[in-house]
Subunit: 705 residues, 2 copies
């Protein structure tokens, strides 16, 4: 038996705090178990009642003279430890859902302790706990429902849900069954305070659950984001995880923080991490259900070539727009054979050749036309999936149409999402399809989005297989440690020279440079580097060198060098009389190039992350940067670069030369290693990096410890 089976497959349940008062949760829980047809035994417990919903009520848990697997605890918080002592005494209780609130979520010390006390008893008694402050679980297989949500008449399906909000989770479940064609689900869970079982336990359980083909998740934010992502990545390699994560805007994440008390990470880190883990993020509750449903019912497309087969222009164009506005799926190019067969099959008004991969069969198409056209298109090896749309004219038989289409679709191992539009009239047609395992949707854009998300899932799976990270390591770790230890001892920042030295251990090349400690020294070293030069003041106390007048560029000869050297020293002293000066950094003037930024941070929730973006003022406005959790593989690093909005600038747009993307990718990988392997480093900022046709040059670097 798997651990969470103790909850989902409990065959007897005691409800502590059961009630005949309709205003109480203890009433609704019993009602849900009884009226919605839970197949096991139910024992209400309440010393003040004799009978609830026609079932004998017990004064205490100890009085139940039959086995009890699971207890649902809906009594005031202070009474909960006593209940667990009773359960311990019984010895047969294996699991508990604590619906009661008033524990650690209040952040009141006594209440936090109360929760700890309960868990201690539970551990001693070998009882696994969900909650407190949670509504528990639903299982459509045995119709077990521990919630006090308004009776959700569940329908079995092949996706499972987990929610960080009980009310929103219940809403999603209610919405799913209230659709014109209900969306079934297998299991459902809300874990509340996670004092024992947490959200990771639930998704791990779903991973191995036979009934669960895809996982839908509602998320507000989590403290252990890195761990979550690592587990999710592991699961997503086998089963799709679709997530609705709120806090997409700054305003929204602010509000989310007030709600859950979670540390809510920057949304761009979530976005990046989901992508990296192969977790499909969606925007709305509808898209969450639609996507999880589509994936749970159908094979994934093998590629991104999705045909649109419609009988009405409007819905067809709406679907094509969904494809055209994204960069995930494309319309296929039909084979000549397919075009020929479609021309032979379809009514003369049909539009077949106008837009590649788009067929408008016209309103004259009948049930057979639809079914045969589906077959022809599915047989085309240039097609990976179909969005099939019809505003069924009244002279068609929706049921027949659904049955014939389903039979056609089932012959091929390719996904088809269907949208029949005409209200109640098409109900039987949609049901015929759904019964045959073909997902149907209310709106053309929803059918299209579900299919596009299946393509995204395919692409993520393809990428997950290519994530070996490199094994770059510091050439000389001791050297790095020494630099950092010295700065730590002296409690100073690292200078640019020290930052360059650390980066050099990961083969990030800054070309020639030298630190000069006197004018004479500078003149000598300048000769070796060659003019023209840049001079920069080096001081652990001057972070913003330009602001301090500490940078002079285009120094052309030794005369200018001497003047410039004195000038930067003078400026530095004026800027900060006490600044410790290490000397002046001499670097060559480098040729112009496209400027980029590569950096890394150590985030409180996501740990080490690496970042790349374009430099300069225009780009600052656009915030054209991409993050990923470190370390990154070559594929991931390249993905970060290619997904920048301005990537075409590197890629030879308008006859410009292609720039050295490989070199950029290499630096991203090395910096991602650097931040992972050196835990004292908080932040790295190599800015700017000039990118050339061959190679790159890093111009400045800052490592923060």
């Amino acid at each position: 038996m798997r651990e969470l089976d103790k909850f989902f497959y409990a065959s007897s349940i005691a409800v502590i705090g059961a009630s005949n008062d309709e205003k109480k949760a203890g009433y609704q829980i019993i009602r849900n178990l009884v009226e919605l047809g839970y197949v096991g035994e139910v024992y209400p417990v309440n010393p003040k009642e004799d009978e609830i919903f026609g079932i004998k009520c017990y004064a205490s848990l100890k009085d139940i003279d039959a086995p009890v697997d699971l207890i649902l605890v809906s009594v005031p918080a202070p009474a909960v430890p006593g209940i667990f002592l009773d359960a311990k005494e019984r010895g047969d209780v294996q699991a508990a859902v604590i619906l009661a609130s008033g524990f650690s979520e209040t952040r009141i010390p006594e209440r936090v302790e109360l929760e700890e006390a309960v868990i201690k008893i539970a551990k001693e008694a070998n009882i696994r706990v969900m909650g407190p402050n949670c509504v528990g679980i639903m299982n459509t297989e045995n119709r077990l429902d521990t919630t006090f949500a308004a009776g959700i008449d569940k329908i079995p399906g092949s996706m499972s849900l987990v929610s960080q909000s009980g009310s929103l989770g219940a809403t999603i479940a209610a919405f799913s069954v209230n659709q014109a064609v209900p969306v079934g689900f297998a299991k459902w869970a809300h874990v509340g305070n996670q004092s024992d079982i947490d959200v990771l336990d639930v998704i791990k359980y779903y991973k191995d659950d036979e009934k669960t083909k895809s996982i839908a998740m509602y998320m507000e934010g989590i403290d252990n984001a890195r761990e979550f992502i690592e587990v999710a990545k592991d699961i997503a390699a086998e089963k799709a995880i679709v997530v609705l994560k709120v806090g997409r805007s700054e305003l929204g994440s602010g509000a989310a923080a007030s709600h859950t008390g979670s540390l809510v990470g920057a949304d761009e880190l979530y976005e990046a991490a989901f992508e990296q883990a192969g977790v499909l993020r969606v925007d709305t509750i509808e898209e969450l259900l639609d996507t999880a449903k589509a994936i749970s019912m159908q094979p994934l497309p093998q590629g991104n070539r999705i045909a649109v087969l419609t009988e009405a222009g409007g819905p067809g164009i709406i679907s094509v727009d969904e494809i055209g506005m994204g960069d995930v799926a494309v319309l296929p190019k039909f084979s000549p054979e397919t075009l020929k067969r479609l021309r032979e099959l379809l009514p003369p008004m049909a539009i077949i050749d106008h837009t590649d991969g788009y067929v408008d069969m016209s309103a004259a198409a009948d049930e057979r036309h639809h079914a045969e056209a589906l077959k022809i298109v599915l047989e085309d090896e240039n097609v990976d999936g179909i969005i099939h749309l019809s505003v069924l004219p009244t002279f068609l038989n929706p049921k027949l149409m659904g049955e014939m289409s389903a039979e056609a679709i089932k012959q091929y191992d390719k996904p088809v999402t269907v949208c029949y539009l005409a209200g109640e009239f098409v109900q039987e047609g949609r049901e015929a399809l759904e019964n045959a395992g073909i997902p149907t949707f209310e709106m053309p854009d929803r059918a299209a989005k579900a299919m596009i998300n299946m393509v995204r899932r395919r692409q993520m799976l393809d990428r997950i297989g290519k994530t070996e990270t490199g094994d770059e390591q510091a050439k000389d770790r001791q050297k790095i440690d020494a630099i950092i230890e010295k700065a730590q001892e002296q409690k100073v920042n690292l200078t640019e020279v020290e930052s360059r030295q650390i980066l050099a251990e990961y083969d990030i090349d800054f070309g020639q440079y030298a630190l000069a400690t006197s004018i004479e020294d500078a003149a000598l070293k300048a000769e070796a580097i060659g003019y023209p030069l840049v001079l920069k003041i080096m001081s652990p106390d001057i972070i913003h060198k330009s602001d301090a007048g500490g940078v002079i560029v285009n120094v052309k000869n030794v005369e200018e060098l001497k003047i410039a050297y004195e000038q930067v020293m003078k400026n530095a002293r004026e800027y900060s009389a006490d600044a410790r000066i290490n000397g002046v950094l001499l670097t060559p003037m480098l040729p112009e190039g496209t400027e980029m930024i590569i950096g890394a941070i150590r985030d409180a929730q996501f740990g080490p992350c690496v970042m790349v973006g374009f430099g300069g003022i225009f780009v600052e406005v656009l915030k054209d940067v991409n993050f990923k959790m470190a370390p990154v593989s070559r594929v991931e690093a390249r993905d970060m670069v290619e997904k920048l909005k301005l990537f075409p600038v590197l890629d030879g747009i308008r006859g410009r030369a292609k720039l050295d993307v490989d070199a950029v990718v290499e630096v991203i990988m090395r910096i991602s290693r650097l931040i992972v392997e050196n835990e004292d480093i908080k932040e790295i900022d190599v800015n700017p990096i000039r990118v050339y046709e061959q190679g790159i040059s890093a111009l400045d670097a800052r490592v923060i410890i």
Copy 2:
């Protein structure tokens, strides 16, 4: 009587081609009229039937011995003229819907002529026509329904619909009434081939229709886009027009063109024109209905400060995200009084102070808390509207909650959109609100989008009042005409000098420049302008001067000038031996600045349009340009600039100087006038324009005739 009343308020209808065959439209039409309760008289016409749906059937239109207002024509196309001759003979028929297809939409010459012939008879008989190839109208007031859509059990409401697609229009109507809480509408129309009544007639009719409070439109593309926009602008000043226009992607507009045969304009021109006309564009069918419904039921907000009042975190955050991800609405800052009153009212778990304008009342809130909190927030003068969300716990009474909330809301003249989440359980609560005129929605994001679109409508209305365009006119029209006529006679392009001369007539300043026709002439004129200079070859045959080696910059003195002059002449001759050379343009080297582009085009559908964008390679990738139909007012021109993604670059980001946006706005207005007033000009391209802290400089210009 208003002209379209002949259709929407017909009191007797003859259905030509009525049928007992369920597979025929003529069956469904009769069925819809009878079963859905049309209040007037219905006369089926079919020589082969005696009775249809229990109603006496007539052999011919002429046989009906009672008045006939409206005829619905569902017979094969070639039989239609005969029907109209019958109608003419009767003399009482005022209107006709031709449901039959097979006319001009086939583009077969005889069929186009057939349509013309029908319309000729109709005109002679004083019969107004909708169609052919259309399904006509619905009116929920008298339950008139001329369509053969699967019986849509209409519900009266206060928005009206018009669709360019019969099937999608019917789908929208079916979807609207099949919602958990149905969305009513007043009138509905599909106009097909528009041989007489067109879509503009319908929206003009809706404008003056008392029952219609807002107009929802489904659009694929139209030929007379400019006229449509001008009419729409006029209507939108009084009644909201909400439009779902497909073809948002290039792929989608390609597919749309195949469907309607309409000239489908670039989507960015539609987008701009909708904005300019105050037409609210939406993305999905759901958003179309939600927005039109919200606007039809409620007062508009006076500003953009929208509070979110929730009882559950999840839905609350989803709504806040919708606000935070756009730039339309903001959360308000409550007055201290409001905060104090909320603190006194709400349960201790409520979150009131954490995020400005966001209140999470907590699950402990009861019906009274909701109603009182609504009042307190609506009374705050810093609040323009509320999104109100609740996952009703089972201990609340949804009906009571809806009634109490509605009563609270009705006391104030501010809009509130409501989302109750919990499936069927909340049905009565939603109905209580809807009956009181408060719009409710299925999902929190939908309630939020509807409210945000109400704010957009408010902002558009505010802008519509400020669209007086300037009265700049050419200083010397004859001079422009002479330049253009000369080029037309010689069949050559305008040179840069001629383009500059035309622009100068609208006070677009290029600073000093001169055309030199010999080295000596150049030396003389260079002296007057001052070094350093730029030299450019001037030839009507060399459009791309740089490609021809026809541009040399930074010419510092007379020696360099002479060499450069010979060089550009030589390059030009090598580039094109036959090119006619007008001379060499001398311009000063101008200081660096932020480069922009201002231009204009004469579009086939939208007529003269003006555009502005940033220059350079980065921006070419971003396509950061905005269009509007010309002429533009100062407010509109400023809007074009401020809505550029990179606008912050002009606006003094990161301590940079603010640049002269006023000067940019002025040039946009002048160029918009120029293209409007000079019909021979096809395109104008002033590129680049350098923008400084004070003023701008145009560096190059191209006027295409």
